[in-house]
């Protein structure tokens, strides 16, 4: 009986046949994950080379305008992870570090974009197995009747396993004014998974700074389980202009020289107006400018256009914006 149950096979990819008791290894990531590649690395550059994480840093620097403090924090975190990897290779530390983060900042400051990059970095360094990002809000986690919340939250958690769970506007989970709110239940399940399955999933909470602070104050358990708090500052006007140019470039458009000045002026007015959402407002403004450019060209039915004309946004396309009128009204008063 016993010799019959001894396996005569070996499963490809399995660390050892079940005849030998499985020994826990430092690197339990499955085959194919980049984490498996730097098993024996002894230097920082070896880890970086094996994981190709350097490329992600360069991309981060190149693609993201401004955000100096955020980039510095990400580099710090990545440095810590690389050093941890080296320590693990020498058998110095067995426990997975806590990687849960909170991103606070005004709308449009790049929280989601950075979260995507963060997932990529963690994946390259082998701290998450799949590196996908699941972005959710309160609606995806909290149910509408008793017994609805737990399965809903668990399903989202299961989908996010092996990657990063990004909870946007996380403070909506907690509604102190309604004691029968189901959000608390979602928070409890979340906390449990954040604690017990640290190597399966990284949670990033995002939202406005002041509200997140209030949320953390009323949920000390959540606050203590989050290792890294990143604050996203507002963009400087010069950064916004560079973002605008990058966005246009991506769509194969460009500013005419006067249009660039007009847009600079536009930004100055727009920043002072309510509901300013940083990069998102810039994107929306550009979308509207593209609309105006299109209708301007559309009016000239018979003229053949050059590529130059089709890709250029003129000053008039921007100056037609409501923002200028509102600013004019303000100065008059």
């Amino acid at each position: 009986m016993s010799e019959l149950s001894t396996p005569l096979y070996s499963i490809p990819g399995s660390a050892s046949g079940s005849a030998v008791p499985a020994t826990p290894t430092d690197d339990s990531s499955p085959v194919g994950a980049p984490g498996a590649a730097h098993g024996a690395a002894r230097t920082v550059s070896e880890v970086l080379a094996a994981s190709h994480a350097g490329a992600v840093f360069d991309e981060l620097d190149r693609d993201l305008v401004g955000l100096k403090s955020v980039k510095a924090r990400i580099r710090d975190i990545a440095a810590l992870l690389v050093i941890d990897k080296l320590r693990m290779n020498l058998g110095l530390q067995a426990q997975a570090p806590s990687l849960h983060m909170s991103f606070t900042g005004n709308p449009g400051t790049g929280k989601t974009t950075v979260a995507l990059r963060m997932a990529e970095i963690l994946f390259r360094l082998g701290y998450v197995r799949k590196g996908h990002l699941v972005a959710v809000t309160r609606d995806d986690l909290v149910g509408q009747y008793i017994g609805h919340t737990a399965p809903k939250t668990k399903e989202v958690l299961k989908r996010a396993m092996g990657g990063v769970l990004f909870i946007d506007e996380a403070y909506y989970l907690y509604r102190p004014e309604n004691e029968r709110d189901y959000g608390q239940e979602a928070i409890e399940i979340l906390l449990q998974v954040m604690e017990n399955q640290r190597d399966d999933l990284v949670v990033i909470l995002a939202g406005y700074r002041d509200r997140m602070e209030r949320f953390f104050r009323s949920n000390p358990g959540m606050s203590s389980r989050i290792a890294h708090h990143l604050d996203f500052p507002d963009y400087a006007p010069a950064d916004l202009l560079r973002i605008a140019e990058k966005l246009l470039e991506g769509h194969n458009y460009q500013f005419a020289p006067e249009a660039r000045c007009a847009f600079e002026e536009y930004l100055q007015h727009r920043v002072r107006q309510p509901h300013f959402a940083n990069a998102r407002s810039v994107r929306n403004a550009l979308d509207r400018a593209r609309l105006r450019q299109a209708s301007r060209l559309f009016a000239e039915r018979e003229r053949p256009f050059t590529a130059q004309e089709l890709t250029t946004i003129e000053a008039g396309d921007i100056r037609a914006s409501r923002v200028f009128q509102a600013a004019a009204v303000q100065t008059e008063n």
Partner: protein
């Protein structure tokens, strides 16, 4: 049923092999996920070969990327039904396929009651045969553990 040398029920994949370890189960789940299957956990205390549809433990899990999610549900099921048969089932939702692509048992009760052959004499000299699970002599919920 019990003519195999390991004295255990053989249904689905891997059932002539020794029990899979959790690491091996994870690898199988990963394989299924890579092929786009949706995993689900099912349990029963009546593993009769004709009992095709076992009880579902939660919903089938679509859109998963990593085996950890399925393992989480499996551990839940093991905790809830420590003495039942549990199997993992992979559903291939590809149009035109839409059926079970993988299925294997991941937990058995400590002792498996097994099946007996029942002979029923019919008119003339006919004999009708049927398979009867010893476990099912007791009511549901009390069958496990032999």
């Amino acid at each position: 049923m019990m003519t195999n040398p390991v004295m255990k029920i053989t249904q689905g994949q891997f059932s002539f092999l020794p029990e899979l370890t959790d690491a091996e189960i994870s690898l199988q789940i990963e394989y299924g996920l890579r092929r786009g299957y949706a995993w689900s956990v099912e349990y029963t205390d009546d593993p009769h070969p004709r009992n095709t549809y076992w009880e579902m433990f939660g919903m089938p899990m679509f859109d998963l990327r990593d085996a950890a999610g399925v393992m989480l549900e499996l551990q839940n099921c093991r905790k809830t039904f420590p003495q039942h048969y549990i199997r993992l089932v992979a559903f291939d939702a590809t149009r035109g396929v839409e059926s079970i692509a993988m299925s294997f048992i991941v937990q058995r009760p400590p002792s498996e009651p097994g099946f007996g052959l029942i002979r029923q004499e019919g008119p003339g000299r006919t004999l009708r045969y049927t398979v009867h699970g010893y476990g099912t002599d007791r009511p549901e919920g009390e069958r496990s553990g032999g």
